[in-house]
């Protein structure tokens, strides 16, 4: 019998209650209105002192949450069978999940600060094509998690190149230092998004702030304090900068919490990332199961000359965290190393650097066509519709056309592609830039789409559907699109290797 195999149903550690408490509290926080509404209604409905009522409500909430966590622990059983992990759970709605070993793509683990002292870990099974995590084993021993990982490694189908009984030692590909964590925090798009939102508002601030100061009672008190108009503007700008700084600080803190001591290692054909300050996350991906590899640069990352890497596995179409393997920050040199490890000799040295000279441009008629579709047509319709109520002011809607031209040129300049016999690399973006690479044989189906205008000009959009999502190459010549499609079909149909 296998070391991991156990014919009896077993419970996890009683400390799993901590895990369930976390999940329940997270659920309450996510749906705060729905979860707490009955309790709030009870507080309002009952008579008596408000403090006592709130006290009772909190006591009820704590008892219910504790009871729910205990019940979920009590009704959770699992069994490691000969070829599957079986999980029985549920208090009222009983479910039994059978996770076949050959369907498991990877085993991921999470270890919070309490579990770390107790040598416990929460195991998540990442299965092909599932929309989320199919199963979890909360608070199991590190030894069990390790033996499960070993079991999955052995269950993997033997590939042609794996005939050799070699077991290379794990190599570290990347380690992130403190400076990198700060960079990750600073490149957080949420802070940038706020900045972008504030940007246009700030321009109008100067005009409207005067009116606001006149009408606001808060500012009338400032007037009494003899603060000038410019002083008030400075105060507002100061407040915005403080808010931004707080936001950036929160982003850096979040990066430290999630990626502290982040390391990326390769262990035979498994890429593994580890990191986290309080909760230590371990995420693994089998290289053979990677469908696409994308290197993205948001505007802050472009300034820092760094990339964010994302390797995607098969997913059911819904955005699933487990189907994405993320390397939050890499330098240009590391980008080449990681992509070479993932694609190996099958697609030697795909250059994922956006500035690579290998990229070819798409057809320039993309700009004209996009300008007509998204600029000229809507602007003309709006101007016509608004001409009667607004008069000549309606012509202002025509300003949308030069803006669309500008956007279209930006998008056009970002688009680029190159391919060889094994794979395709495509670059796109608007403010940021993203380069995505995949092997031809991993494609699930392929489409050529042409609008009436494209058909007239011998152009086409080529769309590749992969198990992790689709990739569209727009505005290439129909001849090239047809040749590439036929070649990709040939590669899919003649390849003997598994696509996942």
């Amino acid at each position: 019998m296998n070391k991991t195999e156990n014919k009896r149903w077993q419970r996890t550690s009683p400390f799993a209650v901590i895990y369930y408490l976390g999940r329940i509290l997270k659920g309450i926080a996510k749906n705060a209105v729905q979860s707490l509404a009955p309790l709030a209604a009870a507080v309002v409905a009952f008579e008596g002192d408000l403090k006592t009522r709130i006290g009772y409500a909190v006591a009820v909430l704590v008892s219910v949450v504790l009871a729910a966590a205990l019940a979920r622990y009590w009704f959770f059983r699992f069994r490691i069978g000969a070829n599957a992990v079986l999980i029985r759970e549920g208090v009222f709605r009983k479910t039994q999940t059978d996770i076949k070993f050959d369907r498991i793509q990877a085993i991921n683990t999470q270890q919070n600060i309490i579990f770390r002292y107790l040598n416990l870990v929460t195991v998540t099974f990442d299965t092909a094509g599932s929309s989320g995590d199919e199963g979890r084993l909360p608070a199991v021993s590190l030894a069990l998690a390790a033996s499960l990982k070993e079991r999955i490694r052995r269950e993997r189908p033997v590939l042609l190149e794996e005939h050799e009984e070699t077991s290379a030692p794990a190599r570290t590909l990347l380690s992130l230092g403190t400076g990198d964590l700060i960079r990750i925090g600073l490149s957080d798009s949420r802070a940038l998004f706020l900045l972008l939102l504030i940007g246009p508002v700030a321009e109008r601030l100067e005009e409207s702030v005067g009116d606001f100061i006149d009408s606001s009672s808060i500012f009338s008190s400032f007037r009494d304090l003899d603060i000038s108009l410019w002083g008030a503007i400075g105060l507002i700008i100061g407040a915005i900068i403080t808010l931004l700084l707080i936001l950036l600080l929160a982003s850096v803190l979040a990066a430290v919490l999630r990626y502290y001591r982040f390391t990326l290692t390769i262990d035979n054909d498994v890429l593994r990332s580890q990191g986290g300050l309080l909760t230590r996350h371990e995420h693994a991906v089998n290289i053979g199961k990677v469908q696409t590899l994308a290197a993205a640069q948001s505007p802050p990352l472009r300034l820092m000359r760094r990339f964010r890497l994302q390797a995607r596995q098969a997913s059911s179409g819904k955005a699933s965290r487990s189907s994405k393997f993320i390397v939050p920050l890499t330098e240009s040199a590391e980008l080449g190393v990681i992509s070479s490890e993932i694609f190996g000799e099958e697609f030697p040295q795909p250059d994922l650097h956006p500035a690579s000279s290998r990229f070819q441009r798409i057809d320039s008629r993309y700009v004209r066509s996009r300008t007509v579709a998204f600029g000229v047509v809507p602007a003309t319709i709006f101007t016509t519709l608004l001409l009667y109520p607004l008069g000549w002011y309606a012509l202002l809607a025509l300003l949308w056309i030069p803006l669309t031209v500008l956007f279209s040129i930006l998008l056009y300049r970002r688009y680029g592609y190159y391919f060889d016999d094994n794979g395709l690399v495509m670059r796109n973006g608007f403010l940021g830039v993203r380069v995505i690479a995949f092997l031809h044989r991993k494609v699930q189906r392929v489409s050529i789409v042409q609008s009436v205008m494209q058909k007239r000009r011998g152009l086409a959009n080529l769309k590749f559907y992969l198990a992790s999502g689709s990739v569209q190459l727009p505005y290439v010549s129909l001849e090239l699109a047809s040749q590439l499609r036929d070649f990709v079909l040939y590669r899919i149909e003649s390849s003997q290797r598994p696509w996942h």
Partner: protein, 181 residues
């Protein structure tokens, strides 16, 4: 042993080209199936508008109704014209072809699309037909590939018998169990 690595040079001109294949048309009755569907939709809208018109007229007997049904009925007539004409425009532009290793579907009026789904990527196949489909002896075939609903290929308007034959042929190709209807 060194890892096996294939990198054979190919003459791309010798590859089988989709442009050279012989396309099959959809079931001839599919136009009438689509027309029947359009007429049912129009009937549903007309009844709804008629009831609303009557109720608002009764309610506004004392005064004048705010809703100008003349324009709404004109809009309805234009929609009816489009929905009735559309099957005669779109169905003749739908084709399919089955090759040794894949199935190809061509469709679209404003956007012309040619999609090829290799059999060795199809996970399972489903034949379906609505009561209206059965009345006109047509069926749809849905080919499921990995990657969620956006990756699935749906071919409507196949003759019912062809759809069943295709289902069995594809199941045989993908190595699934065959259950005859």
């Amino acid at each position: 042993m060194t890892p096996m690595f294939e990198n054979l040079q190919l003459a791309t001109d010798d590859l089988p080209r989709i442009e050279t294949i012989e396309w099959q048309r959809m079931a001839p009755k599919y136009v009438y199936r689509r027309l029947a569907g359009a007429l049912l939709t129009l009937l549903f809208i007309a009844v709804g508008m008629g009831v609303a018109h009557a109720l608002l007229s009764i309610a506004a007997q004392g005064g004048e109704s705010d809703v100008s049904f003349g324009w709404l009925w004109l809009g309805f007539a234009m929609l009816a014209l489009l929905l009735i004409a559309w099957p005669f425009i779109s169905v003749p532009r739908m084709f399919y072809a089955v090759r040794q290793r894949d199935i190809v579907f061509r469709h679209g009026v404003m956007w012309h699309a040619v999609t090829a789904a290799p059999f060795n990527r199809i996970q399972h196949v489903e034949k379906s037909s609505t009561p209206l489909d059965r009345k006109f002896q047509v069926a749809s075939l849905q080919l499921y590939t990995a990657g969620g609903s956006s990756s699935d290929l749906r071919i409507h308007g196949l003759p019912a018998k062809t759809a069943e034959k295709l289902r069995m042929f594809i199941l045989d190709k993908i190595g699934g169990s065959i259950e005859q209807d």
